[in-house]
Structure formats: C-alpha cells, structure tokens
Symmetry: D2
Subunit: 289 residues, 4 copies
C-alpha cells in the first residue's frame, strides 16, 4: 500500500529519487527551494508540492531530504517554515544528504522531540544511480526505523546497508570518499606516466584492471580520463565538501588522513583550473596541466 | 611438442613458474644462486639444473629469468658464467623480473648481439598467482617473439598482454604499482577512520565495495587489514624497489608523482616498524601505530 | 597620560600583556572567564576586574581581547554580558586572538554599530615575548585607529605593523603560521637524518644556520629538538587551530596549500602521541616515533 | 708560503674558487673538461692548466675537485687520465662537489691506496659566495688532514666546519638541502596566500621575518619571489640532484623524509614549466601556475 511521503530537495539526485517513489505507488509531496523545479516535478510525476518544507511534510509518514550540505539541511529542518515545525508525530525522517555525523546526531534529537524517528542515509551511485534507481544507501539508525523505511529505499536504492546507530551512514560515506580520493590520485599518476611513455590505454587496462591495481574507477573512468573528458560524474566541488567533512571527523577522532588532506588540496588546483563541476577523476588533468 | 627451456631464479615466483613449465611437458633446466633450491626443484619436478646460468641455458630455445632487481638481472646475464655467454643463436630470452625499462632496452641489445630475441614480461598476481599458474604477464617486445613465447607463458599466466616494444612490459608494471600505492593509502585511511568510529567492517565493505570506492584491494585485503594480519602477500621491500623504479622513470619522463613519492616514504615507516616482509596493505598498521 | 583600558582573557598571553599595560601607567580593568585568574591579576598588578566582559569594558576607551578561537571571541563580544553591550561610543576595540579574517570583518561591523572602531592584532613572540613585552603585533584596521592604539601596543609589543584594512592582521598571521609549518617539517626531517647518521648537532648548526638553510627555528629550537624536549613554546593544539584557519582562508581564496595540509595531519600524529601541549617543533618526535 | 695545488672543474663554483687560491699566492694548475674555460682561467689568473686531470695534478700537494655529480666525480678520478693515476704520494685530495657520502668513502679508500688523504667538503653559499670567497665548507675527514687543508679553504670559504669522518661533510650538506626544501615550500605557500589576499610584501616581511617564521630564504628571497624573478641563485636541477642524494641516504638509514620526497616532486613540476635553471625559490611559481 502506498505511503504518504515528502521529499525535500529536487537536485540532480533528489529529483529522480522522488520520482521513483511516486512511480512506485507512494504519494509524494515535494519541496524545492526553487519552486519551478517542484512544479516541473509535480507535472512529470503527477505528485504534489509544498511552498515550504513545512507544508510539504504536513501529512507525511516518511520525509526524505536530499539537499547540499550541513547548513542547507539545517535550513530545511528548522525555523517557522522548516519541516520540523509541521512534522507528524510518528513520522520517519531520512536525510539522504552527504553531511556530517554530528549533524545526524543533532537531527535525531530534534526529530525525537517531535516524536518522530530519524535515519541518516547518504547515498552513492551518482546521477546515473539515482536516475536508474540503483543507488547504494548507507544508513544509520535503529533496526526498527530502518525496517520501516526499507520498502521505500527499495524504490531508488539497490543496496541498503544499516551501518549502526544514527551517524553511521555518514561515517560509512566518509570512508567511501576517502577511498575514492586515494584510488583516483594513484590512477591519475599511473595514467599520466602511461600516456607520457606512449602505452596503449586499452591494452594497459586489459592487463592490470583485474588484478591488485584494479578498481571501479580504473574500469569505469580510464577511458574518459584518457580522453580528457570530465564533464560528467561526481563534481569536484561536492568532493571537496565531502573530504572536508571527513577531515573534520578525523580531527574529532584523533586520526590523521595525510593523503586525503593532500589530495583535497590537489582538488583545489582543479578548481583553479575551472574544474568545479568536473568529475573527481580530473586529478589527471591537474597533473598534466 | 615440448620445448627446451631454461629458468633462472627459483624464488617465491620462479620456483612454481618453472614447475608449471616442466609439468606442461617442456624440458626445463634451472639455475638458482643458492644451489640447494635448484636441487630441490629438480627432484620435485624431475628437471635438470645447471651450476651457472651459462650451463643452464646452453641448450635452451627459451630462457626465462625471474630474479630480484636490475643489478641481480645483470649479474645473471653478464660475465663468464652469465647466460649470454652460452646463449643459443635464435633463443628467446624473457625477463620476468620487475625491473627498469632501461634495463629491458639494454638487454634487448645484448641478446640481439647473440642473435637471440628478447621480451620483458614482469608479472602480477603474487605468490598465489604463481603457484596456481594464473599470473598476468605484461609483455614488451615484437609481435613475433611474443607469439613464439605465448605457448610457454600460458603455463603460468592466465592473462598475457603485449604492451608494445621492449620496455613496455616494465612500464605497464610501473603503472600497476603506482595505482596500487594510491588505492592502498586511501583504503588504509578509510579503514583507520572506520575502526576508530566503530563501524562494522563487513557491513561497510558490503555497502561500498561495489561502487566508486571499490577496488581489488578493498575486496581482497580489508579483512586481513582489519585483523592486523600482514604476514602474507606482496612484500613492502619489493614494493619500495618497484616504486623507486617508477619514480626514476617518472624523473626521466619529466612527470611528477607526488602521492607515489609520499607513500613510498610511508612505506619507509612500515619498514622501521619491522614490516619489510609485510604485505603492502600494511600502510594501515603505520597509521595506527 | 594613562588611558582607561579593559583586557579580556588572561591566559598565557593576556595575563602578562594586561600587566604591562597597567605597569605602564594605564588603568586596566580585566575580565577572565575563570574569575580566580582575574583576582590574582588584580592583586598582582593593582588593577580592577569585572565579573563579565560588559562590566570590565564599561569605562574603557581601549578594549583588548586575547582568548582562544573564533567561537571564544564571539562569546565575549556578544550577548547580554558581552563587551559590545556596554561598549563606550568612541572606544577602540582590539582583538589579539589568532582568529579568522572573516571574524575580524564581522567584529568591525559590530563595533562600528556601537560607534567604536576595531583593529585585529594577532601577535607572535610566544609566552616569553608576552612576558618580556617584546611581542610582534600584525595589525589590520585604519591608519587613524592604529595611530591611536599604538601607544598602548608599545607596552607589550616591540614591533607593530599595520598591514592594511581590518582582517589584514589575521592574514599576516596566517602567512606566519604557514611558513613555520614548512620550516619545522624540513628542519625535523633534516635533524632526524643528522641524528641517525651520528652528526654532532652543534657543529652541524654552526655550519648551516647562517646560510640558505637557516631559520629562526633552526637557531632557537635545534637544541631542544635534539634533546627531545618539547614541554615549552607554542602548543601543537594552537598550531592546528591556526593552520585550520589558514586552510579555510585558502579555500575561500582558491589557493592550495599542499604542504600545510599535510603537515597539519602530521600534527594530528603528534597529538596522538600525547603532544597536544608540546612545542610545534615536536614534528621531529613524530618522525622518530 | 704558496702551495702546489690543482683544481678540477671550473664551473660556476670552481672557476672563482680556483681563482681565489691562485690570487692568494698558491700555485694552481687547473683542469676543465671543456678546455676553453681552462685557457680563459689560466689567462685571467696567470695559472697553469692540464689537458687531463692526471696532468693537472701531477705536481700538486693539494687537489680540489668541484664537478657535477657522483658519476662526474668518478670520471675525473679514475681511468688512465684520472687524477688518481698521477697523484703524488702524500697529496691531500678534497672533493667540493655535492655528492653522496658513499662516494666520499669510496674515494677515501682509493686515495689512501695512492698514499694520499681525502676530505669531502661540499660547500654552500652559491655563486656569490664562491665569487666573493665567503663560502661555507662542510668537511668530512681526519683532524690532521683538515688542519693541513684549512689554510687553503680560507681562500674561498669564510666558514669551515669539520663535521666528522669522511662522508660527514656530504651528510651535513644533505641536512642543509632538506631544510631548504621545507623552508621554501612553506614560504611559497605563505607568499602565495599573501599575494592572493593583497598583503603588502614589504610590510609583511617586516612584521614576520625576525620571529618564529623567519628564515634566510624569507629575508633574501621574498622580493625576487614576489617579482616572479627566478633567473638567479641555486638551480632546481642541482636541487633535485641533491634531494635525490638525501633521499637515497635516508633509505639506506631507514628514515623517512615525507615532505622532502613530496617537494622533490613539486620541483619536477617546476622543471616541466621550464624552470631547470631557476632558483629553488621557484616553488612559488609552481603554486601560482
Ligand atoms: N550528484 C551526485 O552524483 C551525488 C550527490 N550526492 C550528495 O547528494 C546531495 C545532493 O546532491 P545533488 O542532488 O547532486 O545536488 P544539486 O546541487 O543538484 O541539488 C541540491 C538540492 O538542494 C537544494 N538546496 C541546496 N541548498 C538549499 C537550502 N539552503 N535550502 C533549501 N534547499 C537547498 C537545491 O535547491 P535549488 O534547486 O533551489 O537550488 C537542490 O534541490 C549532496 O549532499 C551531494 O553531496 C551523493 C552521491 C552522489
Ligand atoms: N601561547 C602562545 O605562545 C601564543 C598564543 N597566541 C594566541 O593567543 C591566543 C591566546 O593564547 P593563550 O593565552 O596561550 O591561551 P590560554 O589557553 O593560555 O588562555 C586562553 C584565555 O582565553 C580565555 N577563554 C577561552 N575561551 C573562552 C570563552 N569561550 N569565553 C571566555 N574566555 C575564554 C581563557 O579563560 P580561562 O582562564 O577561563 O580558561 C583564557 O583566559 C590564542 O588565540 C593563541 O592562538 C598567539 C601567539 C603565541
Ligand atoms: N651553483 C651553486 O650555487 C652551487 C653548486 N654546488 C655544487 O657544486 C658542484 C658544481 O656546481 P657548479 O659549479 O654550479 O656546476 P657547473 O655546471 O657550473 O660546472 C660543473 C663543472 O663540472 C665539470 N664536469 C661536469 N661533469 C664532468 C665530467 N663528467 N667530467 C669532467 N668534468 C665534468 C664541468 O665541465 P665543463 O665545463 O666541461 O662542462 C664544469 O667544470 C655541484 O655538485 C653543485 O651541486 C654547491 C653549492 C652551490
């Protein structure tokens, strides 16, 4: 049976995610800061929209959020028009934004005060994953809340993994981003050398991609990297936001992330080159500048 | 029909590789600096051995070498007892050692003078790959020589890729090692944070290993890394040798490898911890020291 | 003629700075969060103290602040007990805290609303500089305000440099800290090698300290570094605060600080060793761990 | 009383050094690979020259060498025309080249076989130091040999420091170069930020150069760095040679030099920009590219 849902934030990710929900038979009311997008969405998917987060969520048993960063999330939760102001008791609130674990813990308390329950559930899989409904969701929260929400997650996420208490989803996502940074810097340095010495990229990847050097990025990005094609994928600006979140958490935890910190600075060089919206694999462009 | 082969260097890799050759019906004469190992091999596989490289290769149409580094290779090629001194005209000489591309070019000339032909063919896949005969060989040389040798490569290498002229095999291997360094430093930083915040490693890897952060190392090493188990795999000392080769080639090519150079120093820290023979994934141990 | 002053924050730096002011004939009213220190100060220097920042500044024509970080500064400026609530029109407010340039600009506006004028004036020279009244002050603000305050700065700062508009003092201090990080990492790596190979440190420094490798840190810290003595000087925790400020400003400006970011992570390792209060030169201890 | 000397290598450094010796009343016979320079020198200073190192040294009681790198040194020592072939028994041989400590130990043995004694004595102070005779010499060898040579060192070196046994001069020079790398990367990052935010460089350096951030490079290079003027000073190519020597020694000693290794790669970027002969302070140009 269809659920009453609200979806806040119709960006590259949220727009198709909310669409999958509605298409699966749920009743979705959306909110987007720029109302035009909400109108477009509601036409395309025959769903409702609210003029404020509060209005969008007032009947919802499940509230999904997918906006930019911590501050953006706070701005849709709090205040007179914020979703908390009209949250139904018993509602499940899910934040799909990639944000800090601290924010997740803060929101859990705020949602509990409204007698709701909270999950942090950042996703991976990118625009394509969102459009094809095959994202991965890393979830933090209680078993019970996760079980309640999973039916909805299935509409857009192929893999859902409950990681632990609230915040754990964000922590898992941090690990994800840290790993990507290392993979991509190594791959970029390797491809840079390969190109300089004149190796054939297809033969190279055929030889090494199944072994100890292999990675998702190697298989899925070597061709675009070789072609200097970066106008796609996961944007450098988002990556730097995510790495900052990870670096701040590492500070809090007393661990050091030397390569991550260094590569974050290398991404600053990419931004200087105008690569704010380039795919994260553009570390190669920086090396070859 | 069985070929007359010689195999020089019966280490962790060479010993089983030479065994696979002999088992496949070829007639292999081995040489090892420490003769005891050659004797053991010849008993185990009913093959011959020579007391010098020269003696081992004197009847061979195919000569394989798999020793330590550039200097080691030179020491088995040159000199009165060196393999070049008794090389049969027309023989194919294959160097499986991970060494410099410059050495490969030097050896090609030396072998040509003896009317032979040369391939550089460093391998990946580790001890397990050698024992199970499923290595990957990255080969540099002519189409013709590669075609002649491929029947033999099949005895121990599942994947064989001709990369280009002599030296190209070594260059591909350098790219391989550079990529591994980046992957492993990122993975180590990620797992370090994961452990510190108390994430469950199996759930974490289930969530992230198929996506953009995924890598061979993540799938195959996260468990041993989590268990602080490094007494296996590809040794840090070898890795530093290989990274030095890559860094020197990069210098020659005028490219910079900032993360590779940094991670190479991190491996020096692992060596200080006594990790000379630990698997390359021990970068995590360094972070957690 | 003595001025009416207030001094907020009697830490390692503020306590002696306020003392020098009072000793020079000015009439100083202090505030410290932990009142005991304010009482001690007022006995030692025969000055007054307030129970809140507001109370301390109510008669002051010059208000100095020297607390910890941006947040601490905000907590003594704003709110019912904050210094702004009782600021005399025409007062000059000077922030000696090492903080962000953004905060300085924010405070300038807040002070202007109270008809006062503002200077950011972070200092260098450490505890000894504060105690001996020989600090360096890097000042941001107008010529006129600087000229008015300079008489007071002289009580504790030997060098005072107006750098430009409000915020410029903080920016200069950021440059200072960035330079220190590079100097100290290089010096630590150098001394580490020197110790390992058995060089005599006094002869070494005699030979190299006047030339191209020379630095204040080399001359003033090599001995304590060699003796593994770090219980003095400028604390690693403060340094990390300062480097974070610099890294955040660099992000805002679109410049990359690769070595600074890396060394900041190395300081995290020092913290893990228990070195939170160690001198910044303890990067050597990390290398030798 | 004037000594019989030979000086091998009349480059930027050797030419004026040999000149100072001759001017001080010693009898100097020079050798230079490119004979034209030796002829020019012998006219300018009324000294002799030989057509081979052997010829130049045959009457010398003191033999100075200042060529490029380890290999270059070997080429003037060994072989039929090498200086060892005609070395007078009892002669003191001094290598002023910046080279490895291992080479110094090798040369000591070779010179001892010819009944001579050896010092390694790399210098700092650059072209200006050489021309003005105010170099610093870091010397490895015995007290006795040092004492014998010091009179000659005084002709071109203001500071002479015996560091310990043969090799110690080179080791001290390595420490020197490591320290310079750190200082310059920090200074470059600092000045980059300063320029971006519009600080006045003279005021900035006035404020910070005497304190904890201060360095020889800051005082002597900030102006040329600010003016993007790098056509002077100590060349990046030489620096990379020296850093390689230091990194190799660190490997041998089991110490890690993470910042040095990273900065060495940054110098590779400078070389890519065409900066092979630029001053080492050109790390700033790289950041601002
Ligand atoms: N893009 C990707 O490939 C992936 C993104 N993510 C994460 O998902 C999140 C969303 O990314 P994406 O959809 O690409 O981002 P977009 O920039 O496409 O969309 C951002 C959305 O958030 C809204 N928003 C931003 N700030 C505010 C605010 N202050 N108040 C109200 N609404 C706000 C925007 O509204 P408006 O339309 O008015 O601007 C828009 O709907 C981010 O945290 C990102 O890191 C995770 C995995 C992959
Ligand atoms: N120490 C040094 O060598 C140098 C320090 N600096 C900078 O000077 C500043 C002060 O350093 P230092 O004196 O060493 O620091 P201390 O830790 O010794 O003292 C900090 C002072 O700030 C007060 N304070 C901190 N937080 C608050 C708050 N939220 N509300 C009210 N008061 C607060 C403390 O009060 P309480 O006594 O109650 O804790 C104390 O008086 C820092 O910005 C530091 O970076 C600059 C150059 C050198
Ligand atoms: N320049 C500087 O500021 C400083 C340099 N140094 C060190 O001093 C040494 C010399 O530097 P610099 O004088 O600047 O170098 P130059 O390049 O100006 O001169 C090098 C000298 O060595 C000779 N040479 C090089 N290779 C050979 C060889 N294979 N056989 C014979 N002669 C050879 C050259 O001969 P030819 O004329 O025929 O080319 C030339 O005389 C280097 O080790 C450098 O690192 C140390 C401190 C500062």
């Amino acid at each position: 049976m269809g659920k009453q849902c609200a979806f806040i934030g119709l960006g590259v990710m949220g727009y198709p995610m909310a669409g999958h929900l509605q298409n699966a038979g749920h009743s979705v009311s959306v909110f987007n800061r720029t109302t035009a997008k909400a109108e477009k969405w509601s036409k395309e998917f025959s769903g409702n929209y609210g003029k404020t987060p509060a209005e969008a969520v007032k009947n919802a048993d499940f509230v999904m959020v997918c906006v930019g960063n911590d501050e953006d999330v706070r701005s849709v939760f709090y205040g007179d028009d914020g979703l908390l102001s009209k949250l139904k008791p018993g509602a499940v609130v899910i934040d799909h934004t990639t944000a800090s674990a601290e924010l997740a813990r803060e929101l859990e308390l705020a949602v509990k005060e409204k007698e709701g329950s909270f999950l942090d559930a950042p996703v991976s899989g990118g625009q394509a994953g969102a459009e094809n409904g095959v994202l991965t969701a890393m979830v933090g929260g209680s078993d019970k809340t996760f079980a309640a929400a999973d039916e909805l997650f299935q509409c857009y996420a192929k893999t859902r993994q409950l990681m632990g208490p609230v915040g754990s989803g964000q922590l898992a996502k941090m690990v994800n981003q840290i790993c990507i940074a290392g993979v991509l810097q190594g791959l970029s340095e390797g491809l840079q050398l390969a190109r300089k010495v004149g190796l054939d990229p297809d033969k190279l990847i055929a030889a090494i991609s199944k072994g100890a050097a292999g990675s998702w990025q190697m298989e899925n990005r070597y061709k675009t990297m070789w072609d200097n094609h970066y106008e796609h994928g996961f944007a450098v600006d988002w990556m730097r936001k995510d790495l900052k979140i990870a670096l701040a958490e590492a500070d809090r935890q007393g661990v050091s992330l030397p390569a991550t910190a260094l590569i974050d600075q290398f991404y600053a060089d990419v931004q200087k080159m105008g690569g704010n919206r380039w795919d994260t694999s553009s570390l190669l462009a920086r090396l070859e500048k």
